[in-house]
Structure formats: C-alpha cells, structure tokens
Subunit: 409 residues, 2 copies
Amino acid sequence: MSEQLFTALEGGSITTPKGFTSGGLHCGLKKTDRNDLAAILCEVPATAAAVYTTNVFQAAPLKVTRESLADGTLQAIVVNSGNANACTGGQGEADAYEMRAAAARALGVKEQDVAVASTGVIGELLKMECVRGGIAALPEKLDGGSAGAEEFCQAILTTDLVKKESCVEVLVGGVTVTIAGAAKGSGMIHPNMATMLGFMTTDAAIAGEDLLRLLRTATNTTFNMITVDGDTSTNDMLVTMASGLAGNEPLTRLHPDWDAFAAAFTHVCRVLAKAIARDGEGATKLIEVQISGAVHDEAAAAIAKTVVGSSLVKSAIFGADANWGRVIAAVGRAGVPVSPENVNIALGDIAVLKGSRPVAFDEEKALHYLQKSDTVLITVALSDGDGQATAWGCDLTYDYVRINAAYRT
Amino acid sequence: MSEQLFTALEGGSITTPKGFTSGGLHCGLKKTDRNDLAAILCEVPATAAAVYTTNVFQAAPLKVTRESLADGTLQAIVVNSGNANACTGGQGEADAYEMRAAAARALGVKEQDVAVASTGVIGELLKMECVRGGIAALPEKLDGGSAGAEEFCQAILTTDLVKKESCVEVLVGGVTVTIAGAAKGSGMIHPNMATMLGFMTTDAAIAGEDLLRLLRTATNTTFNMITVDGDTSTNDMLVTMASGLAGNEPLTRLHPDWDAFAAAFTHVCRVLAKAIARDGEGATKLIEVQISGAVHDEAAAAIAKTVVGSSLVKSAIFGADANWGRVIAAVGRAGVPVSPENVNIALGDIAVLKGSRPVAFDEEKALHYLQKSDTVLITVALSDGDGQATAWGCDLTYDYVRINAAYRT
C-alpha cells in the first residue's frame, strides 16, 4: 500500500489542490430540495483525462465530454443529478451541448474546456429551464474552501447516503503536491465503470499522456474492482484535472517521485471506490474479497469479482451466516482455471476451509465477526500461481430491493 | 413451438412412461419431516444420458454418476435433498459410492447402473445412518402411479415452493411414446446448469448418442436460458432414462418422427425450466425476455440472459415499475455488438422504446400489466441481424434476501 509515500489529509477536499473552486445548488431536477447541479472550476486550463462506461448505450453528456477532452485540457466540469440524460436522442445531445455552452458562459471559460456529467433516471429529457437557471446561479456559489466542496459533493448524490471524498499530499521533487477526489455511487455499480461519477483534482504539473495512463491503471485496481449489483450504467465517468499550480517539476513516468505520486493517486481512487461499495444501495457492510494463488492477476480479479458479486454470498453476509459453500461455489464458476483440491478460505481471521476441506470453526465467533464488522474480509488462497487481486462490494439487503422496486415512482 | 406435434398429458408424471416406478420418504436429512430421499427405478436397463454443472467444484455424487453413465446405461437414480455432499473430500466420495451401492442392493440392480444426485447445504458430511436406513426402506415406497411420483417430486425440493413436472405424448412411427420430467430449483440458478436437479423418463427406444445430443441441444435453449440469481451450483445435473418399452422403431436423428420427438422432449425441458424460474427463491413473477434482431443467436442469448439476470430489472419488475432504462442498460452491457440507434422495447404489448427513443406510454396500463401478470414479457427488437433467443427469470424480492440471509441457520 506504500502509505508512507504520501499523507492522507483529513478534511481535505477537491478544492484543496491549488487552483480549484467548486459549488452546488438545487435547480429543480430532484423532487426534494437536495442539491442537483454543481461545478468544479480551475483558475487555469488544466491537464485533464477521463475514463468512461463500457456500456454500448452511452449517455449524451459522455459524447460532449469526450469532445471537450479531445485536446487533453479542461477548465471546468458541470454536473447534474436527478436525470441521466441517457436514451434521449438528438434532443438529449442538444441539451448536453447547451449545458456545456451555458456553463462556459457563466464561468468565463471556453466551451471546449468544459466537461458535462449527468446521473439519475434514464430516458427522460432534462428540464432545461431548471438547468439554465441553475447554471446562471452557479458562479456565485463557487468557493475554494470546504463549503463549496461540500455543496458539490451533496449535489452529485442520488441514492447515496453519504458523500465520498479523499485527499492526500505527496512530495514531488521536494514540493508538496495535493491530490483529491469526490465520487458518487450507488446502484448500477459494476466493474468497468458503473453508475458512478468520479472527479479528481490535483495541483501537480503532469504530462497529459502520463495522467491518462495513470488514471487507467489506477482505475483497473480500484473503481473497476467494485460491484454493487452487477449492472453497468450508461453514464459513468471519472474525470481528473491537474492545474499544475503546485509548482513541482513536471511529472512523467521517469520522474524519481513518480511512484510516490502514482501511489497517492491510486490511494485516492481506492478510498473513493471502497466508499462507493460501502454505500451501495441498501448496504449495511463493506465486503472485501482478497484472492491469492490464482494462475495470474486477471484470473484472480475475475474470481474476486465473481465472489463479491454473488447474490448468495451477499445475502449470507447480510444474514451474518458463515456460509462459505457459497464462496467456493462462486470461485468455481468464475470461468478461470482453479485446482479444486487445495483451496483455503477464511472469514476475517477465521479459517473455514483448508485444503478444500471444511474446518470445524467456532460458529459463535464467526457470527460475532460477521455481525459486528463494518468490513467483512473474505480471503481465498488458491494454489495455482502468483495471481492476486482484491475486490469490494456490499451485502444484499431488503433495502436494496425496496430502493430498486420503486426507484422511478 | 410445434405444439401440434405432441400432446401435453395433464396429470402425467415421471412414472407415466412405461417401465418406471418412483417414490420418496423422509430419512432425517432435512430438519422438518419433509421427504429428503427418493429414487426412480426402471424395469430394464435404460439408455441414459446426462448433463452436469460447469462449476469447477463438482460435488461427489457427480463423479459417481459420471462413472455409472460411462456405458450409457442406467436402471435407477437415487437422490437426496438437505445436503449437497459437496466439498466433502474423500469421505464425501466414499459416502456417494456407498449411496450407490446401497441403492443397487436395495433395488436389485447393478451398481454401475445407478446414478446418485444430491442437493442442499455445501460442506457438511452426509448423515449416512439416515441415508442407509432410508435407502433400505425405499423399495416398498416405489410405485408406478402418481403417488410414487408425487413422493419423488416432494423429496427433491429444497427451498422450492411447488413441485415441477411435465409429461407429453408423441407418435413415433404410429406408436405412442411418452416423455416426462421432474425438476427442482430454486436458488443458485444460472445458465449452464444451476442448482437444479432434473430427471427425465421416456419409454422411447432411442440410440444413446442421439439421446445425449438431444439432451444437450434441448438444455441449451431451456435450462441454460434461466437464471434466478446468477449463481451456479456444484451439484446440478439433468439425467434422462429411456426404457425403450413403448415398442417404437428405434429413434435416431434420421427417423421421420425425430423432429416431433425432439420438439416433445424440448417442450418438457422448457416447461420444467420455466417452472424453476417462476419458483425462484422469493419470486412473485416469471420474467420472460425475448430478443430478436441480434447479430446472431449466441448474441441474442447473451443479451436475454443479461437482461433477465439484472438485479435492477428484477427489482423494478417486483415493484411493477416500467423502468425500461434498466432494460436498455442491461442490453448495453451484455458484451455483444448492438447498434444503439434503433432499439425497440415493449413490456407485454406496451411499447416503451421505439427507435431508441422513449414512447409516451400509458403509465396506468403499464402498472396494471406489471402488477397483474404472473408472467411479465419483455421484448427487445434490435436491428443487427437475425439472432433471437428467449430467457426466463424471476423478480428480486424481499423474500429472496430473507431466504438467503439465513439459509444455513
């Protein structure tokens, strides 16, 4: 984890890196009075990169954001919740372009430097009169302190219960560089970009291609290793902006402090990803699945995601039932080679299977562990190679069903 | 469907085809007094075939059954519920062999002609004293009428609510041939053999290799197209026995009535598969997803299974919420090529998306359809080719979570 290479900043936010302001407000897209429109603004055009959902149906904002990011530069991000502007055809595209133009005008930046993100219900047109009014009112809401970041974080939530933030400092050539992020879940969460929006800011000076490569690498072991329900949304994106205002020597992969920066950046991604999993719809617990001894890392990742995504495993954890049979059944259907003769499974530090044979464990202790732990750790040690991976998810609860049985109505 | 090629026999059962008796009893594996041990016996060695789970971890009974089936002949099947005899190591294997030997002795057939099947909790050793006593008492329970079939069907259930049976008649060269089946679900149900046990009997004379090929083909469009929760068990198998006592000319794929026989056989599989999906853990509805216009049938199958397996789609159907956005999101993440510009979706006969654009539909009518229908039909028409497929599943409910949060305890 290399925690020592960087320092977590309690109370830090997306406006802690130099050059960023943010804010949010309620414009009328959500039925309640919660915030539903927000922006991040950088003082200067920032080096930027993004990754997007792999869903075939991509929402209109993704098209617009890809276009803005074609030159690797962004100066602002405008985002709404309450409506995903997905499957909305030509009008939806026009609306996304209008959001971009309006935000550019209001914030005093170039249209081509504005990213647009949306999350919420699919298939309904945006109420543009709300969006227009909201964007016009946004500039006065922006600030560089924690209040603006708080309003931003609240505005991007849908069924999320808590805001998700992370902020770290790392030394680059003796200069302090700050990296921060904010994200939202919490349904339709699955590997390869789920219904999540993530926004990262840093004041590092960094080459654009290295930022993009780092974003992709970090995403693979963090955001792409979480699942709430196996569904992948039409709207996911993770956008990062680097203002360069920290004054560090420009970072490339050849810089001696690259590894520290990469570790810090990945840490922020991991904190946000785990927070999304923990706040999955209806969740009462975070589930962390660690696989070792797989034929290779990709196989370990496939197994980890299959276990953490199993409805049966998730239900059993909700019920504090040490039903490791469901874990091994999931390992066995992950679609990768596994030698069935020598599998070891533990729940926390309680061994339940050794050499593929049940261990007579203390059921009371297991019940206590599963009931009292906010994070349930499932470790599976195979004997097929050196492959390892960690995935995160949450339990499956009555509330997941309740939330999703009547999301639209 | 070619329904006219054969006749469904109301009240028919696995003992209706000539030569079969069956029965069941409670031997003590289940905590309640429900049946948990059963057998099917054929008067003569029957031509037999089976398909098995694709899970890497295969339970001990599967090893034994594969061995018995190596010569393509079976005369009896012994099955228990309440304990899967999976992940039970050498002792579990010895127990499965002992079950086979005891059943052969009790029923007066060769050991090599007995299949063994188990379903229930994983990782616990079978209480062999119960199994031994039960098997000794089985012969007097067997009969060729509906009572024996009823006891058999009850004995194979675990969390299933209702027994699953189907029986049809078809003419082969002017001679009436009967085909019947019984099956159990109802959790860990997923394509490619889930926690399901299926048993089919027929009095047809049929070549063994053709029976196996037909079983595989029929399974692909029926049992392998259902999902309850995406989990695949360690114990699934579908076994079929053909007594040959109908007196028909032996069936091969070249026989003029092969198509009628295959349609009848597939019908039995489809009825059982749909019954398993409808009786999925906690289900209140059957969901049928029909895909057309995909690039090929395999792509259509992948899309159909992704839609019917989506927790979000399943929760929305439970809530009678016409949230087609979740359908299109599932279509888009199925991992196969789809042109996003021209997708049509209907719920029953209510069009909700045409040409990838939302249709202003009657919400009241949609609510009524979703609330009142025991089977909810979701049709998705693509414009990419001629590929089509149908998949079945069920809604995701509070009861699914309740059942699986405390299955073991």
